[in-house]
């Protein structure tokens, strides 16, 4: 039986990307820009000026109603009761085994209204899971409102100066992981001080039919500061350099927050949530493996899937790896046995049959300078 070819989905900025000469690629069922002027140039622009990203393919799931907080507390591992209005937090959607169904950012839009921003590849599955689990909690509505939002990120030291002229919202007053409502280039917007690059920056949620004018306005505003459009290629090298995990590579349904070095997103003090018993047991027993950062100490580049070798035997796997444009080092993340996870431990990576030496380093590889 032949499979029907499903057309790729497109964001409201698709025509703009094509017109700009972006190299496109299928990603999570969407036709997305990988690069415009080149991954290296785009990566460096974000580290030194700012870059503008179309991330409209990501999903937004809203949870509202009397039991909204209780429902979010149940399905999300971080403690949402700590969120004031206008605040967001990074969290995990965990399975009963305590493993990552997805990672996400939880926004508190109102006392009984939350928005969960989830990965593009998982929107349908996340929605079905959340709706099912929330129904068991109580009086709550779960809506997939992804089609109501286009999402544009501007990231880099020049992000605030580029965005401020376009909005009446006072951006300097928005704390990291806080958000506000306002207008951007006359488009109704939710502006959050979040991102996936390790730089200061904003993610701007706007109605889809305003996305193109917002995109153009940002690039125009930042033109003389060197602000350029950036694609998924640079998005990946930036987040890796900043030590941020990618669901589907560094974290997935076989790994827990404890193994992934994300214990800080677990709300140990809140009432039991999906996965909490499994995590408590793992905390008690201790993890057997751990996600570490590493860098190569000889020529080569480690890639996803390469084996970590110790005393001649394969002991782990590289989950993400590249040569990062800013630090100009071959770095990566890998799961290794707990005994090998201390910073400074010597490792070997099997790169297409050649054993290449490396060393465990702290994460992140890059931290933006204090402003």
């Amino acid at each position: 039986m032949t499979e029907a070819v499903t057309a790729l989905r497109t964001t409201p900025l698709h025509a703009r990307h094509r017109a700009s000469g972006a190299r496109m690629t299928p990603f999570a069922g969407w036709d997305m820009p990988v690069e415009y002027t080149g991954i290296t140039q785009e990566h460096m622009a974000v580290r030194t000026a700012a870059g503008v990203f179309d991330v409209s393919h990501m999903g937004q799931i809203e949870v509202a109603g009397k039991a909204a907080l209780a429902a979010v507390q149940r399905i999300s591992c971080n403690d949402a009761s700590r969120l004031e209005l206008g605040r967001a937090q990074y969290s995990g959607l965990l399975s009963p085994e305590g493993t990552f169904l997805d990672d996400l950012v939880v926004y508190r839009l109102g006392p009984s209204h939350f928005m969960l921003v989830v990965n593009a590849a998982n929107v349908a599955a996340d929605y079905a899971w959340i709706a099912e689990q929330a129904a068991a909690v109580g009086d709550v509505a779960v809506v997939d409102s992804s089609s109501r939002y286009a999402l544009i990120a501007i990231q880099g030291p020049a992000a605030l100066d580029t965005l401020q002229p376009l909005t009446g919202a006072h951006l300097g007053g928005v704390p990291y992981y806080g958000f506000t409502y306002g207008e951007v280039a006359n488009a109704r917007a939710l502006i959050s001080r979040t991102g996936y690059t390790g730089e200061d920056g904003f993610e701007i949620f706007v109605p889809p039919n305003t996305a193109d004018k917002v995109w153009q306005a940002l690039l125009q505003s930042g033109a003389d500061q060197g602000v350029i459009p950036c694609g998924l290629g640079a998005r990946d090298t930036l987040r890796l350099e900043a030590g941020m995990r990618l669901h589907g590579q560094d974290i997935d349904a076989t790994t827990t927050p404890l193994e992934a070095g994300l214990g800080w997103i677990v709300g140990w003090k809140k009432p039991s949530f999906i996965g909490s018993e499994a995590l408590a047991a793992q905390k008690q027993a201790g993890t057997t493996r751990h996600l570490v950062g590493f860098e190569l100490t000889d020529r080569g580049i480690a890639r996803h899937g390469h084996a970590i070798v110790h005393n001649g035997a394969p002991v782990g796997l590289v989950t993400s790896g590249t040569q990062t444009p800013f630090l100009k080092k071959a770095v990566g993340m890998a799961y290794v046995p707990r005994e090998l996870s201390a910073v400074g431990t010597a490792l070997e990576i099997d790169i297409r049959g050649r054993t290449t030496p490396g060393v465990v380093t702290p994460l992140p590889f890059y931290k933006r300078p204090a402003s």
Binding site: G38, I301, R303, T322, P325, A330
Partner: protein, 124 residues
């Protein structure tokens, strides 16, 4: 872009500039565009043998690893040391950046590779 006529081309998007029995080998402008930003070039040492059609090294961009296929058989005489610290030369000057110099076993085999017009026809 007009491909230089002073050399031959392979269907694996390499250019070969032959002088007597020594060939310089690099990759074409088309190849570097497809690759994106080159960050690492892995080449064998001088003295290594290369066999026509077989992979002799890899060229890595930020996103991907590609194999380099030898357009002819011979022995590596020299590797371009500049590529160790400046792999980006492959992007900025693909037709001026040789990767290896090879003593070719059968110079006539190079003559039977594609000329500039034939290579350009491949790309359309």
């Amino acid at each position: 872009m007009a491909y230089p006529v002073d050399r031959r081309y392979s269907k694996d998007h390499e250019w070969i500039r032959l002088s007597a029995d020594v060939a310089e080998v690099g990759i074409t402008d088309f190849a570097q565009q497809q690759l994106g930003d080159v960050v690492f070039v892995d080449l064998p040492a001088a003295g290594a043998a290369v066999t026509a059609g077989a992979a002799f090294g890899t060229i890595e961009s930020v996103k991907a690893v590609s194999e380099l296929f030898a357009p002819m058989s011979g022995t590596i005489l020299e590797v371009n040391a500049a590529l160790k610290d400046h792999p980006e030369y492959v992007n900025s000057a693909p037709h001026d950046t040789w990767m290896v110099r090879v003593r070719v076993s059968d110079p006539a085999s190079v003559e039977s590779l594609l000329d500039a017009a034939q290579y350009e026809a491949l790309l359309t």
